[in-house]
């Protein structure tokens, strides 16, 4: 069995799909293949944010811990999605937990490495930021719609 090269896995992920060919290499140079068992944490609130996870399989829950309710799932993401944005901006600390709900596989991209490459190559940096902005905007829009409580009792809205 021949393992798929990391650069191919990166290039196949929606976040980096159709990235100019010479830009995939530097990203893949910061990446490694990782797997998580159900219940395993990908990231923990308050800890240094150092990784961008490109989810390839399984389902990952974004959670926040509550003293009274335990971990509350805010959102779940699956293959093709991205987990972890806080490596992008100071103070580089996770704001939420992320936990594998099922067996999950991802490409883990070192945040500091990716930032350095983006700083050194503005063309790569701009392409990266445009893609990140697209995903973040989509997430923001979905969050706004959820705030409407569309399925709530009309009288209560």
């Amino acid at each position: 069995v021949t393992a798929t090269p990391l650069s191919t896995l990166v290039a196949d992920h929606p976040l980096f799909r159709d990235l100019p060919g010479d830009a995939v290499g530097p990203v893949a140079g910061c990446a490694r293949n990782v797997a998580f068992a159900p219940g395993e944490l990908l990231l923990v609130e308050g800890e240094p944010a150092d990784t961008l996870y490109l989810v390839r399989r399984g389902r990952v829950a974004i959670e926040v811990r509550s003293p009274t309710q335990g971990s509350i799932v805010i959102e779940t993401v699956g293959p093709g999605s991205v987990v972890g944005w806080s490596w992008l901006v100071p103070p580089y600390r996770w704001h939420f937990d992320a936990r594998a709900q099922t067996d999950a596989g991802a490409i883990a991209v070192d945040g500091a490495c990716l930032r350095a490459k983006a700083e050194a190559d503005p063309e790569l940096g701009y392409a990266l930021m445009k893609r990140v902005a697209t995903v973040l905007l989509e997430r923001l829009q979905m969050t706004r719609v959820r705030l409407l409580d569309l399925y709530g009792t009309p009288r209560a809205r």
Binding site: R59, A61, Q69, G70, I72, V73, I74, E75, T76, V77, G78, P79, G80, S81, Q101, M142, V145, R146, L148, D149, L150, Y151, G152, T153, P154, R155
Partner: protein, 316 residues
């Protein structure tokens, strides 16, 4: 008008002054007895109704009836299925005076039913489906094998229940349904997911059933997020698929846009509109939205064209 014409004909045949009463018109509720009820969620109840006398005309999936609680009022409720010979299923959410009384009703209570009214999902499915005068009809013809993605939010699953059974009906040789069917079902929270047995039945029949909630509860291990987030998880060929969407209009708007963004032709997306339906016949105009009288021209309408704009308009 057909009812009135029939009444005239009967009078002509029997002669003037006959004591035979004219057939009831479409504005006259026909008495139905509640034979069974069960609670789907905290504020949603399903009623099974049988006609006290003559049955109404057979419904088609997606159509609605006007349910009358005598002395209280009338409300438009989608037909969510048939149950055996002549029995109607309606799933009702307790949101107003009439629906509150409907949700409180129990076996033996009599309510009025007018209908069925409006358009159905047949065109959305790409075929002329059969009337559902028994449990979910006979399915669709071979020529209409396009994959279907059904997206439902909250009580919006009710008008889609019957068509899901129809789409997933076994083939004549007993095999699994030929169509690829994906159902994406959203609810506010896990306890508000309706038709749990049906969800399992659709999966057993070969459908892909994805559920998601806005707010997770302890123990919930499913998806959390908008239904649109699951469009990427659903297995359907966006180029050939058809979409049937029902739920709050904002949800339908975002879903339709999400499907178009994925490459679906807007002509292949159908939505179920809800407005203030009163007469059910396009006479009174209460449900008018732009050029449409929703009770007559809807509730099932193509998303493309005028409807995509109308979904942005405030109800008057």
């Amino acid at each position: 008008m057909e009812h009135l014409v029939r009444a005239e004909a009967a009078r002509d045949t029997l002669g003037a002054g006959s004591l035979v009463p004219p057939a009831p018109g479409p504005m006259v509720p026909v008495a139905h007895r509640v034979v069974e009820t069960w609670r789907e969620t905290e504020d949603v109840v399903t009623l099974v109704l049988e006609p006290v006398g003559d049955a109404l005309a057979p419904f088609r999936n997606g159509q609605f009836n006007m349910l009358t609680v005598y002395g209280v009022g009338e409300a438009a409720i989608s037909v969510s299925g048939a149950r055996g010979e002549g029995l109607l299923m309606h799933t009702v959410r307790d949101v107003g005076n009439v629906t509150h009384e409907l949700c409180r009703s129990g076996p033996g209570d009599v309510i009025g039913v007018r209908g069925p009214f409006g358009t159905d999902w047949d065109a959305a499915c790409g075929a002329a489906g059969s009337a559902s005068d028994d449990s979910f009809g006979a399915g669709y013809s071979d020529s209409a094998a396009d994959p279907v993605v059904v997206v439902a939010g909250g009580i919006g699953l009710a008008p889609l229940r019957g068509v899901l059974y129809e789409l997933l009906a076994p083939r004549s040789d007993g095999g699994r349904a030929r169509r690829q069917v994906s159902a994406i079902i959203g609810a506010r929270e896990p306890s508000q997911l309706m038709y749990r047995d049906d969800l399992e039945a659709w999966e057993r029949a070969g459908g892909q059933v994805l559920t998601t909630v806005d707010v997770a509860a302890p123990g919930w291990t499913g998806h959390v997020g908008l239904v649109t987030a699951l469009l990427d998880h659903a297995k359907f060929d966006v180029e050939h698929a058809r979409a049937l969407v029902c739920g709050p209009e904002i949800m339908m708007r975002f879903t339709a846009r999400g499907l178009v963004d994925k490459g679906m032709d807007p002509d292949r997306i159908w939505v179920s509109l809800e407005r203030n339906m009163q007469c059910g016949l396009g006479w009174c105009g209460h449900c008018q939205i732009g050029p449409l009288l929703v009770c007559r021209d809807g509730p099932i309408v193509p998303y493309a064209g005028v409807v995509s704009e109308l979904l942005l308009q405030r109800e008057r």
